[in-house]
């Protein structure tokens, strides 16, 4: 592995200054589970890695005053997936984080790192998008907050500017909701997603079907995407016919590619199948 230096700053200002000062040659890291592999393979050549694990608040995993869940940037997949509060209030997120790789990898991999890598297959992202999560960023101009959907720009590309780092994620509580994360890999568990679907539904007396929905699709587009037409159709009709129409609309929202893991056609068809299964399971729980 090519040599690099290691710095563990104690303040956000210091971390931001380090990232800026090395002009793209410094990389923030938390869990190391992606960055070290990329360095080893020669994809990135940082002079310095900036360990974020001593920064204030990055280990927070707590419910804040308005009921939102706050996840610090260094909180691991296992800490989220195994947390009873997350499991009861944000089960979709617990399922997504718990589906990542292996137990030992989830002990290091962080939700924040998963987002910053901006893989279309990031397993924490579809759930977070369904809950309407925001990301907190700190940079040379101070803090700012962005909706997660605006954070992803493309595969491996985020809205982070020079000198900026992700500090935390806020996940709203959706009252009465039920959600499921359905993931397809080459093996039943432990694999990267060929594609995945996150479905969140909750009772809503203001819409014709009596329930509102958010559906997010992973690994079928350059970023994790919503399926807004499918969501709209479900708010109109959750009968078997409505469900079929919504599942097809979700498949139509997908823009997958052929790659080593699956063909585009297969991915699109599995969006249809997993969306239907996910909605059926949620309907059973919220009563629809």
């Amino acid at each position: 592995m090519q040599p690099f230096d290691y710095i563990k700053p104690q303040t956000l200002e210091e971390a931001s200054a380090l990232l800026l000062q090395h002009n793209g040659q410094a990389r923030p890291f938390a869990g190391c589970t992606d960055l070290l592999i990329r360095i080893e393979r020669g994809f990135v050549h940082p002079q310095v890695v900036v360990d974020v694990k001593d920064l204030p608040g990055v280990h927070d995993l707590l419910v804040v005053r308005n009921g939102d869940l706050r996840i610090g940037a260094a909180v691991t997949m296992n800490q989220v997936a195994l947390n009873p509060t997350v499991q009861s209030g944000w089960p979709l997120l617990a399922e997504g984080c718990g589906s990542v790789a292996s137990y030992q990898l989830r002990n290091r991999a962080t939700v924040g790192g998963n987002l910053c890598n901006a893989s279309p297959a990031a397993d924490s992202a579809p759930a977070l998008i369904c809950y309407g999560a925001s990301v907190h960023i700190f940079g040379p101009d101070g803090p700012r907050t962005l909706p997660l959907e605006a954070f992803f720009l493309g595969p491996g590309r985020t809205a982070l500017q020079a000198g900026e780092l992700l500090t935390a994620i806020t996940v709203p509580f959706v009252r009465g909701s039920a959600g499921h994360f359905l993931k397809l890999g080459r093996t039943t568990i432990g694999d990267i997603s060929l594609m995945n679907v996150a479905v969140l539904g909750w009772p809503d007396s203001d819409v014709p079907s009596g329930s509102s929905w958010r559906i997010a699709l992973g690994s079928v587009a350059p970023t994790v995407i919503r399926a807004p037409e499918a969501e709209r159709l479900l708010s109109q009709d959750t009968s078997p016919a409505g469900l079929e129409a919504a599942s097809q609309a979700a498949a139509a929202a997908a823009r997958p590619i052929d790659d080593i893991r699956a063909t585009a056609a297969y991915r699109s068809d599995m969006v249809r199948v997993l969306t239907r299964r996910g909605v059926e399971r949620v309907l059973e729980e919220i009563g629809g």
Binding site: Y6, L36, Y103
Partner: protein, 162 residues
């Protein structure tokens, strides 16, 4: 660049200087000469390098050595107590859960950790707990048997090994 770190490995304290770009696996194997922990894939897939970091299993190929500063590591060399094999080590031997042996140190650490957090795992829980440990010899059946038997031994033992 070198960094001074102090950490414990298998309950022994070490103060050494490590290169910032060396992973914990390399520090353990090359500086501490604890070669039980193996280097398989170098990317967190195979689990041969699994060690305990503050009691929780991690892939030591994806931990920087410098990150171990102030922490406690357990490697396969630390599983036996006073020359007595841990239950999972005994049952792996007795039930033939090891063949070429390359994956075995990681399997032992991951299994040990699984039994610490779940003293009575189902077969599905054992397989899920070991999904990050690849074995190309055994077909896993005897590994699963060994973990189940070790769990039984630990539950019924009058003085369980901590």
């Amino acid at each position: 660049m070198k960094h001074d770190i102090t950490f414990t490995v298998n309950d022994e304290s070490y103060s050494i200087a490590v290169e910032s770009h060396h992973n914990l696996l390399r520090v353990l194997r090359e500086q501490l000469v604890l070669t039980g922990t193996k280097n398989g894939c170098s990317e967190g897939e195979c689990g041969a390098c699994t060690v305990l970091l503050d009691g929780e299993p991690v892939n030591s190929c994806l931990v920087l050595g410098v990150e171990a500063d102030g922490h406690a590591i357990t490697t396969v060399e630390g599983l036996a107590v006073d020359g007595h094999l841990a239950p999972i080590q005994q049952t792996m031997v007795e039930l033939g859960g090891t063949q070429c042996g390359f994956c075995t140190p990681g399997v032992l650490i991951a299994s040990h950790a699984l039994l610490l957090r779940n003293p009575d795992p189902s077969e599905a829980e054992i397989r899920a707990g070991l999904v990050g440990n690849l074995c190309r010899c055994t077909g896993y059946v005897r590994i699963v048997d060994a973990v189940r038997e070790a769990a039984r031994m630990q539950r019924t033992s009058v003085s369980p090994i901590p």
